[in-house]
Amino acid sequence: MKHRIQKKMYHVEILPPKQDTEKLEADLELFAEKYNRVMESVYCASITDNAMGNLAFQGTEIIEELGLEVNPEQVMIHLNTFHTKQDLHNILDICKSRGIKYLLIISGDGSDRLPRLQPSDVQVKGVVESVTSVELLKYIKDEYPDTFVLGAAFNPYEPPEHEFEKLQRKLKAGASFIITQPIIKKNDIVDELLEKYPDVPVIIEAWMSKKIHLLSDAVGYEIPEDTQFDPIETLKMLHKIYPACGVYLSLLGFKTQYHLIKETWI
């Protein structure tokens, strides 16, 4: 992961089409267009897994169905705990056979329609009541040894003591890189993270939507709806503050912003 940060490779978030779309074929085309553009730019396509609990198709099945080219360095698949065991293995098996090696393992958001991995599915014994990213990380590491490079999420807006304790368990379970929640300025907890884990690659998430108020829930304080926010300027600032970190671009506008980011990481 380190070398990818040195190569200034952005992680560009791509959301797969939702299951309830009424224009599936058009959505797939758009997905392929974005994916291929990220490939051409030699960035990394970071494909979400039922983001916000919304039922969507899997990145792996789209890559298979559309026959998209996979460069192992340029694809990252998100994988959360809301799957049946069989689906989980389907996804992992496709990743393995197509050479997708970067996986971001998160607990994820559920919904009425999403099945959840049960402790028995991932061979957890004892007192664990539900499967979190920690159990999933360990399971994948055990079942697919030396196959994947696994990452974990870090939320600087949660009570730090608890969050650092969780992170420690994630790293112990097999995570070897970290992606943070979106940050929009210098963040003390992220500073602490970098200090505590100088050897673990950290990728910070940059919020690329102008609608900064949508972040209110994530950061835990109310951001007024009319707040002015310049994502590109903020991104440049984040590079200055955190030169050693990789950057994950969420909600990047492919039409309006994509051409602008070429020059931001210098």
Partner: protein, 262 residues
């Protein structure tokens, strides 16, 4: 095993908003989804077919847009689907609905097992499943939480009651209605979805299924809705209790006593 799964398309409550005046849920303009309980019925049908062979046919009565829910069932793995759609079906109550579905099941022919969800989230009656069984004069098991076993002639299921469970065995043909406990439904795959877009779904009218016109739709429905009214709105003024935990507890307990709740 020839299995018919009956599904219903219902409004998606998850997208509803609360009316600030009445503090009740606004149901207008909602998206249509497959009744959540029916997804478990579809999954159970697919699992039984995968285990014992045969085919799964999904059946729905409704307007043309119900095709979307039928396609969803196909994308999950059902073999084929049939839509019952006809102006003459409009206004059906549970009696007429179960009659219509039963006639279609008759027309499909040689069906071993009919699976329904426990109830639909819009009507909440749980009457259509047993109604189908009654019209066909088949055996029935409702509130099924597990299929214990099956073969080409019979099925053994675990039913839930208020005081426990029982396990009962039924010879085919039979009708079961299933609870959410029965399985963990899969989510559709992209392959399945793309395939479901290509499949032809026949639309049957009352003439196609040989349904008697006096037994379907509003005319065939014994019940009539004579009046609908909003329920009394919820208490609009929310009484807020704040302060130290001790104060909150004291105030709440006092309030409960004043309202004769305790």
């Amino acid at each position: 095993m020839k299995i018919v799964v009956c599904i219903k398309q219902v409004p998606a409550t998850s997208e509803a908003k609360i009316d600030p005046e009445t503090k009740r849920i606004v149901r207008e303009g909602l998206k249509a989804i497959m009744n959540p309980f029916d997804i478990y019925a579809v999954e159970e049908g697919i699992q039984l077919r995968d285990k014992f062979g045969g085919e799964v046919i999904v059946l729905s009565m409704g307007p043309e847009k119900a095709l979307l829910s039928l396609r969803e069932a196909i994308s999950l793995g059902a073999d084929r689907a049939i839509l019952l759609s006809d102006k003459a079906f409009g206004g059906s109550d549970t009696w007429a609905t179960s009659y219509t579905l039963a006639k279609a099941i008759d027309k499909i022919g040689d069906v071993d097992l009919v699976i329904c969800g426990k109830q639909a989230i819009d009507g909440d009656t749980a009457q259509v499943g047993p109604g189908i069984a009654a019209h066909l004069d088949w055996v029935q098991a409702t509130y099924v939480m597990r299929v214990e076993d099956a073969d080409s002639k019979s099925i053994k299921v675990k039913r839930m009651h208020e005081d426990g469970y029982d396990i009962c065995e039924m010879d085919f043909p039979a009708v079961i209605t299933v609870l959410k406990d029965i399985n963990i439904p899969r989510v559709p795959t992209l392959k399945g979805c793309l395939a479901s877009l290509k499949i032809e779904i026949p639309v049957w009218t009352h003439a196609d299924i040989g349904a008697a016109i006096e037994k379907i739709g509003l005319d065939g429905s014994p019940t009539r809705v004579v009046k609908t009214a909003p329920p009394p709105p919820r208490n609009i003024i929310t009484q807020r209790i704040e302060g130290s935990p001790q104060d909150c507890a004291r105030q709440l307990v006092r309030e409960l006593r004043i309202r004769s709740i305790l």
